[in-house]
Symmetry: C2
Subunit: 213 residues, 2 copies
DNA sequence: CCAAATTTTTGCGTGCACGCAAGTTTGCGC
DNA sequence: GCGCAAACTTGCGTGCACGCAAAAATTTGG
């Protein structure tokens, strides 16, 4: 019985996915990401190597997923949750910053590791793209009259700007002890994200107003 | 002598690159993209398979490069070429449309093939990202006072919006005979591109004005 | 509780990307 | 020309992603 819904099969799938995520992250932290083969992850999770690729399409993906799981949909949810009287720009910007403002403790170590490995950095940056789909829906829901192509453009732009911010942040944190201080490289991720998203505010607001007849 | 400039070594490199591009495109058109191994391309170009990957990091890249070569830098050049009295938004939008408006004839066949193969579609879409770097420089040059992060955000957004347009265009051209006509799916690539970029105009202009003290 | 239908897992084979360490070619000063 | 240093090419080995079809697990209908 078990109140039934998640249909057992579904639960097992999620369990496997979670097991792979966890195993990938643990092994990467223990031995360093370069010393983890996908066979190791699969074995640690108790599945065949082939199955790993049924869940994740690259070696890095599982590690990253352990840190970023669900973030994309939470961004979208945060957008739709904002009260209707705040501007689209504020809603979107705050939502993004909220979700990308660093979470707990165990993620710290992981984040540090990610900044260290080029392959992981690249994969981490790519996960930002995942917000594009959910964000498209969220904006569309918030602005019923808006042209579909405009919605997609805005979502893609927000995603792109967020990517810029994260790229910048990774650049400054990784090579912290670079040349003296030619570029000031702002500071915290939230600040960077806000700075990167601000220039899009006019586009967001103009489109939002235009969509209200 | 040969008036000297491109230092022989460089010329040979470009020749190899071009040979690979040409071979890749020719073979793909002849046999269909799925029936071309990278070994075939390498052999046709007269180099070792390993060398192929010194020039292109995926099998699809050479094929796509044969069609999109230089486009990114031409977009940037087009932006800097526009007279100084046209707005940043107009300069950028027209430049992008100009370069993505379809070129010659032989590209037609290639484009058709690209729309047919999922892997090629994906790779083609990814090449849009290549405009981001050059576009960043072009915008920075055009707007000397503008904040660097803002410049990058704008360039990334334009790139993202262009990607939306191309994605949409590929979607409509590939499944042309889909369901009746629930969505009208605009039409030509230039129109789509303009529609996708228009929403960014307020952001571009606001940033441009702000950068002029 | 059994079997048929659906979904997931697994093994296998192929093609591919890339690090590394020779081998080869080119650039350049003498 | 000569020879050295830098850049490019090549072969090899490893790890990886993924299509495919057989096997195992789960759901569904009786």
């Amino acid at each position: 019985m078990t109140t039934d819904r998640p249909t057992l099969r579904e639960r097992k799938k999620q369990a496997t996915r979670e097991a792979l995520r966890a195993a990938a992250l643990r092994l990467a932290l223990e031995r360093g990401p370069e010393n983890v083969r996908v066979d190791d992850i699969a074995e640690a999770a108790g599945v065949s190597p082939r199955t790993y690729n049924n869940y994740f399409s690259s070696r890095e993906e599982a590690i990253i997923a352990a840190v970023t799981a669900e973030r994309a949909s939470r961004v979208a949810a945060a957008v739709t949750t904002r009260p209707a009287d705040v501007s689209l720009a504020d809603a979107v910007i705050d939502a993004v910053i909220g979700q990308y403002t660093d979470p707990g403790d165990h993620a710290r170590h992981a984040l540090l590791m990610i900044t260290t490995s080029p392959a992981l950095r690249a994969c981490y940056i790519d996960t930002v793209t995942a917000i594009e789909g959910p964000l498209t829906e969220a904006i569309a829901e918030r602005c019923p009259g808006m042209d579909q192509l405009t919605v997609e453009t805005l979502a893609a732009s927000v995603s792109a700007a967020t990517k810029v911010a994260i790229r910048q942040w990774l650049k400054s944190t990784s090579k912290a002890a670079s040349l003296p201080g030619f570029v000031v490289t702002s500071g915290s991720l939230p600040d960077l994200t806000r700075s990167a998203l601000m220039p899009l505010a006019p586009a967001l607001d103009t489109a939002a107003n235009r969509s209200r007849h």
